[in-house]
Amino acid sequence: MSEAAPRRWGFLPLLRWGAFGGRWRAQPLVASGLAVFLVLVAFAWLGPHLYTISPYAIHPHRLFRPPSARYPFGTDDLGRSFLARMMYGGQPSLGVAIVGSVVAMLIGLGYGMASGLSPPWVDKVLMRLLDALLALPTLVLMIFFAAIVPLGPLSLIVLLGLVSWPGLARIVRNEVLAYKERDYVLAARQYGARTAYLARKHLLRAMFPIVVVNATFTVADLILTLAGLSFLGLGIQPPTPSWGGLLGNGSNLAITGSWWLILFPGLAILLAILSLNLVGQGLLNRLEGR
Amino acid sequence: MSADPLVAVESLRVTARRAGRTYPIVEDVSFQIEAGSLLALVGESGCGKSLTAAALLGLLPWGLAIASGRIRLEGQDVLALAPAQWRRLRGRQVGAVFQNPLAALNPSLPIWKQVVESAQLAFGLDRPAARHRALELLERVGVPDAAQRLDDYPHQFSGGMRQRVAIAVALACNPRVLVADEPTTALDLITQAEILGLLNRLRLEQGLAVLFITHDLSLVAEYADQVLVMYAGRVVEQAEARRFFAGPRHPYSRALLGAIPRLATPEVRLTDIEGLPPNPLDYPSGCRFAPRCPRVIDRCRSEDPPPVGDERQRVFCQRPWAAEGI
């Protein structure tokens, strides 16, 4: 980030690579990570239009078939096409995590800005509360809620958003404190700019790159959390497929030697997390000028 | 002087590998240093002087290698040694002091441990003996109240004191050769003079052969026995110090002497010479100094400069300045 005041970034902030110093093509990490993730997204949402076998159609005489031309990913314990289940399973696995991280981003941004712009004693109280929240890992909190209320896709999105914002809030707050000391903010204050105006005009824009980086990591974390939760049977419930749930099912059937029921969902989760980590790390390197 | 020099470097050539090609970084450097004698290796930053020293120590950075030549320490051909054998010579036969004393010591070890670490490993000293040896070394390099300061950490010392400690580290195993790579550049003027005086005293007392690397000719005028000027990886002038300072013959040497910086800022730009040294990956043909040389003629750009002069003052130049009669 240069010292120069950030420029206007319009309504599609994700398309503004200028904030990261431009030339994102020169970032092999970002480009390759993004490519892999987009392939996974296409697999989940476009795949079912190309491979039209139903993920719910049961074939009792075709159980545990290894991968073949008709069933490229084999069939499961009920003879369902595993490729179809993998495609449909991608939608909640990725979608819930992406939307959930948007929720987390909004809460974290608001909380962090509020904390950073508040008087120091309010800031202190809010930060201690964050410490307490951060002591509870996302997955543990989600298990807690899953034990009390049954979770559907919508409640998963809301809860994942509600439990995964504190990390972002802390980063935003630290950035706010740093930016408060910057010359142009001090200058604006001299001219009598109000806190709310400052937040909108300067901080929000200055915050944008770091928020995008952390949102990327948050999506990866939520994919992992959701997959873990579904793996444990506490997330997305069968018969709706999800990658975590499919992997959990596959692991219960490992004794049958059906490796494809383990390998494909595991690889999908791994690739999703890996690709987003690469994007986030690439952007972070860019921000830190490495 | 004895006929058998402590250091003898012959036709040293160091190359870098980049993208499958090799580039010469240091070419055809030869010199000898006798016991109790000081050779000043002079040049701008990037001329290959530090790499020459690194080659002598066997500490070339990764990606660089000695392509040809010969290095003898006390008569022993070190390039013929296995890496582990060569490593054992470091510290025992050749010690080294580097530019930045602030970074040269490990920040998280008390200094006495660092001073005698190599001696402990070499001679198997026990703790009291090692502490005694550390005290002796620190006193020899002039650290005041050395007995009280053995357990101090590097950050508790000033820059000049740290350089003294670094010299003590280098001398721990009584090496007979000392490589000093810009040891005073990072220090203020008064401290510079003190450190130089200390090095000179140690050289005379212990008969050290010193390779002193600097970009500042004025520093070594008083102490050097020989001067070797490098430019862009090549020797341009090599002479006895008295002759050299009486009259350097290479235009670059003259420029260096004319451009002696008044303030000791590290890696100072030589403003009296137009332009910058060439990039090692893209050396010009002919004389490498030609693009910046005030006395350049056409032949300089096409032919390598021939050696001119004798053993006592040799210069590689098409149009050297005349020798001053001594």
């Binding site: 307490a132 002591a135 509870l136 997955l139 034990a147 791994l270 980590n277 | 670094a166």
Partner: protein, 311 residues
């Protein structure tokens, strides 16, 4: 120094108090209250009311809050209506198993990370260093439940070398049962640690004191162990503190994959049984352990920092 310790302790105390409060509100924020989760959603209103009265849930919230605190300070974490025991009786033995697994994995991860990180720092941009870097990124992203199943599939199902889960009865049996879970849990942590530590080590290898050490004839092994390690290892302690949540999350999943009856496994089973007193007690314990872990890391770090400081 002491002032710093007192300040740090008070910060942790505040965090702990807030954590306890938070868990209290999380329990009481459930729609219909805890009684519904115990009796199921089809329970009659009379049964719910009776249970509420029995558990003291009909009292005003502030009073319940004080009772909650009083019970905690007595060491009573609640009563499991599913297992019909005090939760605190359950926790002890499960916690011990979890600590064994987590500490073994942490120790293995640290040992591997130090070795790999030093090697990576030494190799720097060389091809070997890049290969290490690639595997670190991949293993760090590897979900433990995927690693776990792959290991079970390979070493238990196909090769039949090690048990796929559970615990042993003899010491040797116990160790055999621990091998795969420890490897599984240690893998992503070792990857994360070694990536960070490798970066630190690389920075240290660039320092002049390494060159000075080489110039006085020290061997690479001694430079790595006596010089680089000493300087690179300090931020490491903070990192261990930061990795504690990762350890617990990984622990929950690893214990579930391997049916290893530790705290995480108990959390999972209790969640499936909707045994909310047990779940909330374990949640609280994990939070407390995390805060304590961070506290210890911070204190250790500042003690080391007082002794030596960079410029």
């Amino acid at each position: 120094m002491w002032a710093m310790i007192v300040r740090r302790l008070s910060v942790s105390a505040i965090s702990l108090a807030l954590l306890v409060t938070l868990v209290f509100f999380m329990i009481h924020a459930t729609p219909g209250g805890p009684a519904y989760s115990i009796l199921g959603s089809h329970a009659s209103p009379q049964a719910v009311a009776a249970l509420n009265r029995q558990m003291g849930l009909d009292r005003p919230l502030p009073e319940q809050y004080l009772i909650w605190w009083a019970h905690l300070l007595e060491g009573r974490l609640g009563y499991s209506y599913i297992q019909h025991v005090e939760v605190s009786h359950l926790i002890g033995v499960y916690l011990e198993r979890t600590l064994i697994l987590d500490l073994a994995a942490l120790g293995l991860a640290i040992a591997v990370a130090i070795g790999v990180g030093l090697l990576q720092g030494y190799l720097a941009e060389r091809i070997g260093g890049r290969i290490i870097g690639f595997f670190q990124i991949v293993f760090y992203a590897m979900p433990v439940f995927f690693t776990g199943i792959l290991l079970i599939y390979a070493f238990s199902m196909q090769l039949d070398w090690l048990p796929p889960g559970g615990v042993g009865h003899t010491l040797a049996g116990h160790a055999r049962h621990l091998v795969l879970p420890v490897l599984t849990l240690a893998l992503p942590i070792a990857a994360g640690f070694s990536r960070y530590f490798g970066h630190q080590a690389r920075e240290e290898y660039r320092q002049d004191y390494v060159r000075t050490a080489r110039a006085r004839g020290l061997c690479e092994w001694r430079i790595a162990t006596h010089h680089v390690l000493r300087n690179a290892v300090r931020p490491f302690i903070t990192l261990v503190g930061m990795m504690i949540p990762v350890l617990f999350v990984g622990g929950v999943l690893t214990e579930s994959v391997f049916n290893y009856p530790g705290l995480g496994w108990l959390l999972w089973r209790s969640a499936l049984d909707q045994d909310y007193p047990t779940v909330s007690a374990i949640t609280l314990i994990i939070g407390v352990l995390t805060i304590l872990g961070n506290l210890i890391a911070d204190l250790l770090n500042s003690m080391l920092d007082v002794r030596v400081r960079y410029e």
